[in-house]
């Protein structure tokens, strides 16, 4: 499995600057990476390259979670902090100001702006007795047992256990929650329609998106001012993508050609064909179509098709995109 990145790279979060000038300023050609570029394999102390299990990106950084060995975390981009404190990490979540790491027995949030010796916030969790690969119960960052973690004090916010939260997407000023039953709840700023309740009012507490009731969803995602979810492919005839919110840059993919069954959208998603589609604001090359143009229609990222690769995971950073792909003829591992 190989990871590729494209889009905003002013801090070298996709690939390091080829030539660092004396003053360390960004080189024009490297700020916008318009074609998927493989992330350089990272090498640990013993000289072995490690597999990246998960990637998360903020505006100026990228965090890679190692899938093997000591399972530590590697940070690229603006001012990295050493990975020594992160061995045994099971999950990671990054914002522009903080990095949250989950371990078997605890969750910690570190301030990326300071060189603190201790985390800004932490919480102990009950360790899993079984295989060390699975995530501790209730942890799917930013979801934590009993609530979720943000990047602003007091960091931890409580969520009602009745919701049975399964995954959470934090947008610019709002949140989109998927429950075990497949319902979608939203809260936060509503000024651009991103909450999906039919108006522009903000909500202080999670409120179910009634328009989607009756259609179980399997995943949710959010952008700065928009939200999306995909209906469960195993129930009814799912696999449909629903979008709502601000469409100023075409981020809703509308007007669409009507019958797109998105194989991929901007959050981690398995697909049948392994094609990656992107749409929205493209001025930093984050759509991967080898231009700096925006698009209000989903378009396939041809690079992966040309390379005979299947995309098996995709992650959106603020102004860039990361995709994990494998060769189509490789045995799927």
């Amino acid at each position: 499995m190989r990871w590729f990145g494209f889009g905003f790279n002013a801090f070298g979060q996709i690939c390091a600057q080829k030539e660092k000038s004396d003053e360390g300023e960004a080189n024009t050609t490297e700020v916008k990476i318009i074609s998927p570029t493989e992330l350089s394999t990272t090498v640990d102390g013993s000289g072995c390259s490690f597999k990246t299990r998960k990637i998360q990106a903020s505006w100026s950084r990228r965090v890679s979670l190692r899938g093997d060995g000591d399972r530590c975390v590697f940070l690229a981009g603006f001012k990295s902090f050493p990975s020594a404190e992160s061995s045994g990490c099971t999950d990671a979540f990054i914002s522009e100001s903080h990095l949250t790491l989950a371990f078997q027995d605890r969750i910690e949030t570190w301030n990326l702006q300071e060189e603190d010796k201790t985390p800004s916030w932490n919480m102990e969790i009950s360790a899993q007795p079984e295989s060390s690969v699975s995530l501790p119960a209730g942890v799917n960052l930013p979801l934590a047992p009993g609530g979720y973690i943000t990047s602003k004090p007091p960091f931890y916010y409580h969520l009602s256990a009745q919701l049975k939260a399964k995954s959470l997407a934090l947008g610019g000023g709002h949140a989109v929650l998927l429950t075990a039953a497949g319902d979608v709840y939203t809260w936060g700023l509503g000024s651009h329609g991103q909450l999906g309740h039919g108006g522009l009012a903000s909500e202080e507490k999670p409120r179910v998106v009634e328009a989607l009731c009756g259609m179980p969803m399997s995943s949710v995602a959010s952008g700065g001012w928009h939200s999306a979810c995909i209906s469960d492919i195993f129930l009814t005839e799912g696999g449909d993508l629903y979008v709502w919110g601000w469409n100023e840059s075409g981020q809703l993919g509308l007007p669409s050609r009507g019958l797109w069954r998105a194989s991929q959208h901007k959050s981690s998603q398995q697909s049948d064909t392994g094609d990656l589609y992107t749409w929205g604001w493209g001025e930093y090359g984050q759509l991967g179509h080898q231009t700096l143009m925006s698009s209000d229609e989903p378009q396939r990222v041809e690079f992966f098709k040309d390379e005979q690769m299947r995309v098996i995971d995709v992650v959106c950073g603020t102004w860039n995109t990361f995709a994990a792909a494998i060769k189509k003829d490789d045995a799927y591992s």
Binding site: A10, F11, E23, E25, A26, N27, T28, V31, W59, S60, R61, F78, K79, E96, S97, Q113, G172, G173, L189, S191, G224, W225, E283, W319
Partner: protein
């Protein structure tokens, strides 16, 4: 003749070390890093304008996202400052090599975006720079507006239909009252009145009479917010940013033949274009208020005939000065609010649901018995609208008014 860049350089700090970049913790270090790259490039001879423009754009893009998060009131001032810095660096990149008119206009627009949406930085440097840019544009001057004179005259000779004002409903008029008379007879009892003769000394009405041509010459290339759509209670009402020239062409002269209404409304134009501020004066009667005179909010209202402000109330007193053209205005007392059916929503609770000049009496029966005062406001008139007095305004022809909100 000094080059444009040397004039701009002269108003910037002498060196990188003198150039301040201080922000609160709200602005992440990564963003400050990009600002530092911009600053370095500004003082280094070696940078290509392309690189400088790129980094400035990063600053603009990242701060613009913050400006659009939540309500305007809650946007942290620090992000507005960052946005202004982005505008400054972008203007510097645009003006480095003798730019052509097209680039100059882009630079002016960039300054305006910073003035409208940013927060003042470095002693309001964007205001200083836009003045330099405007004189540069005037010097490369293109007087293509002679033909507009004929068009504007054509608009003026189409005589508007002036509504008849019934004597018993007419807003009283008084010429140059003393402060004491105004205070006792109108301010304290909260009675509307038209003050005549109190702005005759305004340069806008004699030395520099305001006209479409005059506005073009003073502010034609400046970007301003324009309200599009017949009234702000409509679903398809919106706001856009245009230059004064574009606004005049499209919505005053209607060159593209469209019939959508456009109104340069409720905009602090005189802060943005100080030359226009010199053509008006603060009414003396504002000193009767409790607040300081520098807290008076002055707005410009410039548009074609037919612009409508739906019946609404404001939380401060208003002196509405008519400079060009005429307006029909109707006033209702706050005591009769219940007969005016205000909207329930938080956003529009200060606005009536009733269409004043074609009311739906089935939905709003009480409106028929709500007492009112009405008037036609002519150039030279100043209407006193007491605090929370409901008012409806329709322009009868090309109109320019100046409002003073005071307490």
């Amino acid at each position: 003749m000094a080059s444009l860049w040397s004039k701009i350089s002269a108003v910037l700090p002498a060196s990188e070390a003198d150039f301040p970049l201080q922000f609160s913790d709200t602005v992440q270090q990564s963003v400050v890093e990009v600002l530092k790259w911009c600053r370095r490039q500004l003082y280094s001879g070696a940078t290509s304008p392309g690189q400088a423009a790129l980094n400035a754009q990063i600053v603009l893009d990242v701060s613009w996202e913050k400006l659009n998060m939540g309500t305007w009131r809650h946007v942290d001032k620090e992000w507005r400052r960052v946005y202004s810095y982005g505008c400054l660096f972008k203007v510097a990149a645009l003006c480095h090599e003798d730019p052509l008119v097209e680039r100059l206009l882009q630079a002016v627009r960039t300054c305006d975006l910073g003035l409208l949406m940013g927060a003042a930085i470095m002693d309001d440097i964007l205001q200083v720079i836009v003045r330099i840019l405007q004189s540069e544009i005037r010097r490369s001057g293109e007087e293509e507006h002679q033909r507009d004179r004929a068009e504007v005259k054509r608009i003026k000779t189409e005589s508007p239909h002036i509504p008849e004002i019934k004597d018993e409903c007419a807003v009283p008029r008084i010429k140059c009252p003393s402060l004491e008379t105004f205070k006792t007879s109108f301010l304290i009892p909260l009675r509307p009145v038209i003050l005549e003769g109190i702005i005759d000394h305004w340069p806008a009405l004699n030395k520099h009479p305001w006209s479409v041509e005059y506005l073009r010459s003073v502010a034609g290339c400046r970007t301003v917010p324009v309200e599009v759509g017949s009234r702000y209670t409509d679903e398809n009402w919106s706001q856009t940013l245009l230059t004064v020239d574009e606004f005049i062409d499209k919505y005053i002269l209607k060159k593209d033949g469209g019939n959508v209404s456009g109104y340069l409304a409720q905009h602090q134009l005189f802060e943005q274009v100080p030359e226009l501020k010199e053509d008006i004066r603060l009414p003396d009667y504002c000193c009767l208020g409790e607040r300081d005179e520098d807290e008076v909010t002055v707005n410009a209202w410039f548009g074609p005939g037919g612009t409508v402000s739906p019946l609404h109330q404001d939380p401060q007193h208003n002196f509405l000065a008519q400079v060009v053209g005429s307006k029909y205005i109707r006033l209702y007392s706050p005591e009769d609010t219940d007969r005016l059916y205000p909207h329930q929503s938080q956003l529009l609770h200060n606005t009536s649901q009733v269409e004043v000049e074609s009311p739906d009496f089935e939905r709003f029966p009480e409106f028929a018995v709500a007492p009112y005062l009405e008037c036609v406001l002519w150039p030279g008139d100043v209407l006193f609208i007491p605090v929370r007095h409901w008012h409806y305004v329709r322009s009868l022809e090309l109109s320019f008014s100046v409002s003073f909100w005071w307490s």
